[in-house]
Structure formats: C-alpha cells, structure tokens
C-alpha cells in the first residue's frame, strides 16, 4: 500500500503548501499572469486591480480561483489571566477551473485548528471533498464548514461576518468561540488587491480584525472559559509566488493604542525580501504600508521540530516611530499538519505594547 499512500499525503501536502505559500506545486506550471489579464493559461481567474469587493457574495467561495482561505486567529485569556491562542483555518483548492458537480467537483477542502498555551500546542486537521456538501462556504447567512468543524454566522446581521461562532475539535482538545465584530471590514493593498511580489503576483485580501471573543476551550484537564480578541483574514488567488520566494513571516498585531498592524515578509532567495503591510487606525480606516517602509529582523531563534525557527522579532517602522519586539507565548507553536509551519500567539513590547499572532512558513 505504501507507495501511493505516501504519495498522496505528499500531494495533499503540496496542495496545503500551495495555499500557504501561493505556490501550487500540485498543479501544472502556470504562465506568469500579469495584472489585467482575466485568466491564466490553465483557465483560472486572476486577481485584477480596481475590482470592488461585493459583500456578502465575496465572503463565499470563488471556485474560479485556484486557492482561497478563511483564517481566524484569536488571542485569549481565562479568568486568571492565563494566555491562550486559537487558530481556525479553512482552505479551498481547485484542481481545475471546471467546477464540476457532486463527486466530480474540482474543489477540495482542508482545515487546520490550533490551540496554544504557554506550555502546550494542540493541532488538528480535516480534509473533505467538494461538491457533496461535506465542506463548503455559504455567504449569506454565513456558514463555513468542513466535516464537524464550522464557522457559522450567528444571526442575519447586515454584515454577514459580524457575529460568528467557530468550532473545532481535535483528538485531545476542542474549542467553541463566539466572535462579535466591533469595527468594519478592512481591505489590504490597493482596495483589496494585494501585490505579493515586485513581479506582479497578487491576491484579493481583506480582513475583519475587530472581533471581541468569548468562548470555551476544552482542554485535557477540563473546560476553560476565555475572552479576548480575534482577527479574520480572507484571501484568494490563482497565482504562484515568484519561484524564488520561499516562505513568509506574517504578523497581525492588536496594539494598546487601539491601532492594529498587519505586516509580512515574503522571503526571496534571489532578491530582496518583499515586506508590505496595513496599518489600521482606531476608527477602522486602513492604510497600506508599501514595501520598504517596515523592517523585520529576527532577534532570537528556537529549536522547533528539529529546525531553527526565528521566534523573536523586531519590527521597525521609523516613519511612524514604531519599534516593536515580539516574543512567542509558546516557542513550540508548531503546526504539525501535512505541511508543517509555525503559528502561535505573540506578545509585543517596545514603543508600543500589545499582542497578536505570528505565522511563519517555508522553514523546511
């Protein structure tokens, strides 16, 4: 049995990888798309600048694009101020631009859940076939699900993502969190058109960073009531990163001055790293931070799953006087999924203090 058995997880891994790094290894190589072109050589749609989001439809799936995700990270605390982090991510991948139906649907779905405290990090994943109802996303009322995991719009709010319930369960943990938005949706890049490389690769990218969270964690020792903040990312695209882009380091930070900062570094083996970001003001307005304004510098590493991972970072944005130092809640926040990566809550010190999430991919 072993041969294809090992080959298939590899393939799934490649698809996960495709979602995480926008490099669909699993799929035939594509012609490099450029802005303005409607579809790539394989018939998938490509992001184009100047397209306005249309909600609630855009909360749902975009099967004409290769890859898409619904990504929630939450910084939580129990009554004794013990810190926790929770992650819930649903990925969609399209094997062909022809959507198909039933079993012949070209859509496949997978999901990751993580739950972190200072000493433990729990991980679980789910896989599902598209087309038969085992997984999917409905825009209004909002409902994203895969097997027994779900992210459900709790009421028919004007904005479908305003009130969400998210549930996930692994072999040794579970959580059930209620998210209530306290601010508007935020777009990244140019009105949601987020360029990923100077060579033109891009995605559609918006967020809901303003959630207040209440909920229950189910831990091996028993249930724990928690409250906190959460951040939801929505992104879809069809284009690979540039071949030399090997991974990324991504921050979403809630700072104590009520501003929020999203910044990531796309590491490039052959060129300078690409570091764009978004600054979100207390009133919810978002400002695109172009590449080059912020510097991300690793400050300390940890041995994680047999590799050296930069878990402490310095974030410098001299234009606005930001000089931040991040530290992980748990340096071993390793997502031991088919494609492994680091994702966990961080605390922020320095010119501003706060907390947030750090995701690091591509550390093979």
């Amino acid at each position: 049995m072993a041969k294809i058995l090992t080959a298939l997880p590899q393939a799934i891994r490649a698809l996960v990888c495709a979602c995480l790094t926008l490099v669909p290894h699993a799929l035939p190589a594509t012609a490099q798309g450029f802005a303005g072109m409607g579809s790539d050589a394989d018939g998938f749609q490509l992001p184009a600048p100047g397209r306005a989001f249309s909600f609630p439809q855009d909360h749902g799936a975009h099967p004409g694009f290769r890859i898409e995700w619904w990504y929630v990270t939450a910084n939580l605390e129990d009554a004794e101020s013990r810190a926790f982090g929770a992650q819930w991510t649903l990925f969609r991948a399209s094997l062909s631009p022809d959507p198909g139906e039933g079993w012949t649907s070209s859509q496949i779905w997978f999901a990751h859940a993580g739950l972190t405290d200072a000493s433990r990090h729990f991980t679980a994943q789910r896989f599902a076939r598209g087309g038969i109802g085992q997984a999917g996303v409905m825009a209004q009322p909002f409902h994203a699900w895969i097997n027994d995991w779900a992210m459900i719009g709790r009421d028919n709010s004007a904005e479908a993502l305003d009130n969400l319930q998210i549930q996930a369960r692994g072999a040794d943990f579970a959580y059930d969190l209620a998210l209530a938005a306290e601010g508007p949706l935020v777009t990244h890049g140019e009105g949601g058109y987020s360029v990923k490389s100077p060579r033109g690769q891009a995605s559609y990218y918006y967020s809901q960073p303003h959630y207040h969270v209440t909920g229950m964690l189910d831990l091996p020792e028993g249930p724990v009531a928690v409250t906190g903040t959460a951040w939801l990312d929505r992104e879809w695209s069809s284009q690979p990163l540039a071949p030399s882009q090997t991974g990324w380091d991504w921050f979403s930070l809630h700072l104590e001055d009520d501003t929020k900062l999203m910044v990531y570094r796309l590491r490039d083996a052959e060129a300078a790293d690409f570091v764009p970001g978004t600054h979100i003001l207390p009133d919810g307005t978002a400002q695109h931070i172009p590449d080059g304004a912020i510097t991300l510098t690793p400050e300390g590493t940890a041995q994680v799953a047999g590799r050296e991972i930069p878990v402490r970072w310095r974030i410098q944005w001299p234009d606005k006087g930001y000089d931040l130092h991040t530290a992980p809640l748990n340096p071993q926040s390793w997502m031991d999924t088919n494609v492994p990566y680091w994702e966990g809550p961080v605390t922020v010190q320095g010119s501003h203090s706060g907390k947030g999430y750090l995701e690091m991919t591509g550390y093979e």
Partner: protein
C-alpha cells in the same frame, strides 16, 4: 583436535571415493527440501498477495458500514455522518464495461484517508499524485494483466498495481461514480479510525445503518485455506520421499564405513568425537543440500506460481500475483527442513555408531542378513501403524487427528512394502520350476534390502500422486456440480431498494419464466451466530438444489413452513441430524435436509419463503433469481440498465461466472500434474542411485550366472525386467494407499479444517496411467545400471570368482 581433524578427513575421504553416493545424499536432501520449499514459497506468496489486496479491499479489516436492508447508502447520509464527526470513508463498487472489458470498479475518496492501492512504479514526481488521481481525467490502478486487456477507449490514466485482483480497477470515487452512474449512493462506508467518544448517537442520524467487521478476508481465508492445505500436504509427502533417499544414502555410507570407523576407534578416537565428526559432516551436507534445495524450490515455485495464482484468482476470487519474491519465512523453513531431514535420515545410523563394538569385524553381508530379521520387526511396526491409523479414522475427527492419521498411514504403508514384496518374491521362488526363473526371483529377493528404500520412496510418490489427484478430481467434480446446481438461474438481479423491487417486480415477472426471490438475514441459530435464507419451493430449486441428505417429504415440509434445511457446516458444527430441532432466532424448525455449502465459513439454514416472511417481516426482499432463455439475458440486462437505471453491478449473468470456474480447474490440474511428475522424478532418482550402488556389489551374484552360459545382454534385460516388476508391484500396492490418503484428505482433514466434506470420486484410468508411469520411471532408473552390467568385460566378471567376497 588433530585426531579429530584427521578423523574428519578420513570420514570425508569416503565421499571422494564414492562421489555417486555423495551426490545421491545431496540430491535426496536437496530435492526433498526443494519440493517442500517450493510449495511453501507458493503458499507464502499467494497468502501475502491476497493479504495485501484484501487489506485494500476491506481496508485492513476496518469495520464496514452498510444499510441493514441491503440498499445502497445514500450520499446525504454519508455527508450527515461526516459533518457529525464520524471518521468514515466512502466506497462505490460496481461492475461495468469499460475499454471493451467487464471490470469491477472500486471508487475511493483519497481525502477521507482510506488505504489506496500501491503502484508498481514509484511515482518520481509524487507531488502530482492527488490531482492526477482525482483528475480529470483521473487514474485507474489495476493489475498489469487487467490493464493490458483494456483497449484504447479508457480516458483515465492506467497505473499498474500488481497487488490488485484481476479484473479490478481502483480509481477516484468521482471517476467511478460517473462511470457507474451512481451520483447519489455509496456501496458502503469504511470506518477509517476508531470512533471518537463525543459523537452524537447514530440512532438519531442514520438508524438504518449497521456496522460490521468485514468478512471478506475470512471467506477468502476459508476457501483458499483448503487449497493451501492440500499443497502443503503435497509438499510434505514430497519431502518424505526425498527423505527416504537421503536415509538410504546415509545408511549405505555408514555401512560402507564401518571398517574405517572401527579403525579410527581402534586408533584411539573416542566414540563421542567420532559422533561429533559424523554430525559435523552431516551439518555440512545439510547446509549444502539446504542451499541447493532452496534454490531449486525457488525455481519450482517460480515455474508453478503463475498457474497457482491463476487458480486462486479464478477459483476463489482470491487475488494472487504470479510473481515470486524471496521471503525469509520459506527460506528459513527450507533450511530447517534440510536440517531436520538430515537429522532424521542420520538418526538411525548415529545411534548404531554409538553401539558399534570396536572389535566387531567388518560385515559386508551383515546388511542383508540382518534385514531378514529386520523385515519381521518392520512388518510388525507397519501393521501397528496401520492399525493406529485405522483406529484414528474410526474414532477421531479434527485436524490434528487427520494429520497424525496421514502420517501413520503413510509410514505404515511404506514400512510394510519390503516385507510384502519379500513375501511375494519368496512365493515366486517356490513357484518357479525352471532354474533361470528360480534364480531370477531369488536374486530379486537378494536385492530387495538394497532397493527397499527406493521402492518405499516410489510407493509414497505414487500414493501421493493418486491421493492428490483423487482429491483434486473429486474437488473439481463436487465443486462444478455444486456450481451448476446452486447457480441454476440465468440472471441474478439486485434491485437495491424495496421501492425499486416493487417497481421492477412486474417487469421481472413478465420477462422471466420463473422469478425466485432471494433473501438472506443474519440471525442466531440455536443461539449461535448464523444466517438464514429463504427458498421458494419452486420447481427450479426442487429439481436442482443439491442436498447431501434429506427426508422424503423435505420439500413439502419446507413449503409448509415447519421444516428447515441446514448447511453441512451447521450439520458438523452442532451435530444436527435429520429430524432434529433447530431454532432459528426464536422459532423451532425440524431439520429436513442437509445441503453442501462449499466455501461458506458460517452456519446457515434455509426456510421456506412464506415462513421467512412471517418470521422476519421487516427484512425486505430485493434480490431475485430469474429463469429465462439464456439468449434473452443480454437484452434483458441492457433493458434493466437503460430503462430502470439499475447499475450493471446489480445484474449478474451466471454463465460467464460458471465458464471461468470450469476453466480454473484445468489450471489446478496442471499444477497437480507438475508436482506429481516432480515427485515421481525424485522417486525414480532414488531407484537409479540404489540400482547404481547395487550394480557395483552384484558381481559375485552375476558372475556365476554368466559362467553358466547366460549372455550378458540377457542379464541386462533381466535387470530391466526386475525393476519393472518391482515398480509394478509397488504401484499396485500404492493404489489402496493413495485412495486411503485421498479419503483422509477429503473426509477428515477437510472437515476438520473447513467444516465441509467433499464426496470422493475415483479415477481408475489415472491408476493405469500412473502404474505405466512408475514402470517407465523404474525402467529409466534401471537402464544405466543394466547397461553397465550388460557391457561388463568378461575379465571383470571373472574377477568375481577371485574376490574374497
């Protein structure tokens, strides 16, 4: 240890002087090991391959979820269960025609983590596995021979996977659901991991589902077990034949080295050291012979395996591959058997060596003299063993008894052969009137001790031959008859659901001459797990349903609902006889008939259709056997498919199935014939080596006859005649032994192992052929020694008189 070293060299020098004897010993051991190893290798390979394939089919014994009414599982049920957290994987299975061939398609969803087939070639670009598997166009994994038969019209990429059963293609569930036109139903679901604790209860979600451990593997194991057991029995017999040769060679070498051993002992070599040296020598032989034997065994297995694999596939549907790989199991077993064989062959000689008096003179003729005394003892032992086997056959049953019985019978028969032959020859001497016949018989008797081991080997080979041929032949007749009787209907239709059954019933009624409902239900029989099926007492069944035993009014009782038929397994397992009461669930029935149910591992009973519907009203009848002109079958199934959307997998045409069943036995016979010929060849070799050895010692006996005027050519012809006569006598004795052997295999071992007994059929034509073959083998074996005697220069014969012997 210089004494030891010198001793060993002295002992080994014997083989240098008698290379023929060394060759005999090596060949005997090697052939014994080879036949055993070959059979083991075949068995190991076949088992491993259908273990692999079975683990794919039944997903390594994971529990299977199906609907309790036998209908396909609805896709939305699957989705509901997955959304509730049940770790299930969907399966769609069905038969259809693609690429110009009828194939079984197995559709799996790689994302629900089932076990997927193994491709023969490692996909170097493993990253495209999932996308390529799902497609479009998708992939089909299949055995290379299955893929080779498909024509170019298959859109999917074909991936060779030798582990898969012939005629089976495994692909993505999307591909298979489209080809079988089953978008909304599943054949079954597999529980891929243990169920988590928190799941909502199944009764709320899908109360119509049942969860069962797959029994497919058990069925295959039960069926193929019979075949493997028979092969193993054959291997064991062959081993015994080889052992006789080795025993003969070791014994002879010991006799011829008596003088040397006495000298060594007289020179001060302790008896212990001498025995240790002999043992070392034997270990050496065992190692060399073991290596040779394992190699030969590999060749035998490699030659026979494709046929065995084909047989297993065709006969039992057990997927077996035709390629052989080295497995430590049978290689180890081969060496162990070589060692064991050497030990057994040498045990007698070594114990004699221990008792060897230093000053006893060399007695070249002591062998023959002792053997007349031995003959009586041997006859006594033989009769004891045969009596034991008779008692066991009378009293005992069960597998272990069966094997002890086999051993006692064969050993007894072999030991009895020399005394019987000696008695027959003694009678012939007395009956002979003229001097030449008198000399001929007396001389034959004189040679008997030297030949008896070879003749015993021949007896065993012939008996094994007759026994196994009879068994396979009986098996074939019983099985094909049974197939003909049980598969009486031309078409079997599974309507899938009670609704479909209601809808189709008028169609079936109008198209078929007779519609016979078929329904099975798992229940308890006399408080043990079992199955019950309903049989309408229609004419078709009455005329053909095979019954081993029945009361005169059996069918009337079945129709009236008062009686039941039970299968043979239930009959043996619960010692139920005709007229006994059998409780099916909570209702009592009288046993009116016992029917053969080959290959079914479980207890089963059969009641009338009316009684069944009264007792189990909740079980819907959705399967039907249809009698119709065979010519109408194709058009009728096409109509069911196109007009009523019945999947091809649910319409089974039996004629094709039967034809393949019949073809399979021809291959089984091919294997049996090959093994028979090999065993006979070994026996012939034993005769050849014995005769060669004797021919060198026979000068003192032949020289006087020559001196009295008998021509050398004539002497040679007499040698040939003697061999043929001895072989013929042995063959005649082998027939009853072989028949007993077949009887034990069919009536004791098979029942003990599998719970069913095969009726024995004898094939006298085979016996004549075998006797002729045995005589031919003996003539071939005697040809060289006879030629040697016939062309002996007169001066050598003259020397016979000068020799002090």
């Amino acid at each position: 240890m210089t004494g030891g070293r010198a001793g060993l060299l002295a002992l080994l020098s014997h083989w240098r002087r008698h290379p023929g004897q060394a060759l005999t010993l090596l060949l005997g051991l090697a052939l014994a090991t080879a036949l055993w190893t070959g059979v083991q290798a075949i068995n190991a390979e076949a088992r491993a391959s259908y273990d692999r394939a079975a683990s794919m089919l039944d997903q390594q014994g994971r529990p299977v979820w199906t609907r309790s009414d036998g209908a396909p599982v609805r896709l939305d049920t699957y989705v509901t269960l997955r959304k509730a957290g049940y770790p299930l994987a969907p399966v769609i299975e069905g038969t259809t025609r693609i690429g110009g061939q009828t194939v079984t398609l197995l559709g799996l969803d790689p994302l629900s983590a089932p076990i997927l087939p193994e491709a023969d070639a490692q996909n170097t670009d493993g990253t495209d596995g999932l996308a390529a598997f799902i497609g479009p166009p998708g992939q089909f994994f299949g055995a290379p021979e299955t893929l080779a038969r498909l024509d170019q019209t298959v859109a999917q990429a074909l991936v060779p996977a030798s582990d898969l059963a012939p005629g089976l293609l495994v692909g993505d569930i999307g591909t298979v659901s489209r080809l079988l036109d089953q978008p909304d139903t599943l054949s079954r679901m597999i529980e891929v991991t243990a169920l988590p604790a928190h799941l909502p209860p199944l009764t709320d979600l899908a109360p119509q589902l049942t969860r069962s451990q797959p029994d497919r593997r058990a069925e295959i194991a039960g069926l193929t077990g019979a075949f493997h057991l028979n092969l193993t029995a054959f291997g064991f017999l062959s081993f015994t034949v080889g052992l006789f040769i080795a025993h003969g060679a070791v014994g002879l070498a010991f006799e011829q080295r008596r003088a040397m051993m006495r000298t060594l002992r007289a020179l001060g070599l302790p008896a212990r050291t001498l025995i240790a040296l002999m043992a070392a020598e034997l270990v050496l032989f065992a190692l060399v012979a073991g290596t040779l034997g394992v190699l030969l065994g590999y060749l035998i297995a490699a030659a026979l395996l494709p046929d065995v694999a084909a047989t297993l596939r065709g006969l039992y549907g057990a997927p077996a591959t035709g390629t052989l790989s080295l497995r430590p199991g049978w290689i180890g077993a081969g060496f162990a058997m070589a060692g064991l064989g050497t030990t057994i062959a040498a045990a007698q000689s070594l114990t004699r060596l221990l008792r060897l008096p230093i000053l006893a003179s060399a007695q070249p003729r002591a062998w023959r003299l002792a053997s007349t005394r031995n003959l009586r003892r041997q006859a006594g032992a033989a009769i004891g063993l045969i009596a034991l086997s008779g008692t066991l056959a009378w009293l005992g049953d069960g597998l272990a008894t069966g094997f002890v019985l086999l051993g006692a019978l064969l050993l007894g028969a072999a030991l009895l052969l020399p005394p019987l032959l000696a008695a027959a020859l003694a009678r012939a001497v007395k009956a002979a009137r003229r001097p030449l016949p008198q000399w001929f018989w007396a001389d034959s008797r004189q040679q008997l001790p030297g030949l008896s081991l070879a003749l015993m080997a021949l007896l065993l080979a012939l008996a094994a031959n007759i026994g196994v041929s009879t068994m396979v032949g009986s098996f074939r007749l019983a099985f094909t008859d049974w197939l003909d009787q049980r598969l009486v209907a031309e078409v079997y239709v599974d309507t899938g659901t009670p609704e479909m059954a209601m809808r189709l019933r008028p169609v079936l009624d109008s198209a078929a001459r007779e519609v016979l409902p078929r329904v099975f239900h798992d229940t308890r029989i006399n408080n043990h797990p079992g199955a019950v099926q309903a049989l309408s007492p229609a004419a078709s069944w009455r005329q053909t349903w095979p019954l081993l035993d029945a009361t005169p009014d059996a069918w009337e009782g079945l129709a009236a609902g008062t009686g039941a038929f039970i299968n043979e397994q239930l009959h043996y397992r619960q010692t139920l006889a005709l007229g006994d009461e059998v409780r099916i669930d909570d209702t009592a029935y009288t046993v009116l008939g016992i029917y053969p149910d080959y290959g079914n591992p479980s207890a089963e009973a059969l009641i009338g259709l009316k009684a069944f519907q009264q007792q189990f009203p909740e079980v819907p009848i959705i399967r039907f056997a249809l009698r119709m002109p065979p010519g109408d079958v194709a058009a009728f199934s096409a109509r069911l498919r196109s007009e009523y959307g019945l999947p091809a997998a649910q319409i089974i045409d039996q004629s094709a199935l039967k034809a393949s069943g019949h073809a399979v036995f021809e291959r089984t016979f091919a294997i049996t014939r090959a093994l028979n010929l090999l065993t006979l060849g070994v026996a012939a070799l034993a005769m050849l080596t014995s005769l060669l050895t004797l021919s060198t010692q026979r000068l003192p006996q032949v020289a006087p006859v020559w001196a009295l005027g008998l021509q050398r050519r004539h002497i040679g012809a007499l040698e040939l005649l003697r061999s043929a006569l001895l072989a013929a006598m042995t063959a005649v004795l082998a027939i009853p032994v072989g028949l007993c052997l077949a009887w034990v295999l069919l009536a004791v071992v098979n029942v003990g192992a599998f719970g069913w007994r095969l009726p024995m059929t004898v094939f006298p034509g085979d016996w004549i052929r075998l006797t002729a073959l045995a005589i031919l083998a003996a003539l071939a074996a005697a040809a060289l020694p006879a030629r040697k005697l016939a062309s002996q220069p007169p001066v050598v014969l003259m020397k016979g008189f000068f020799s002090d012997r």
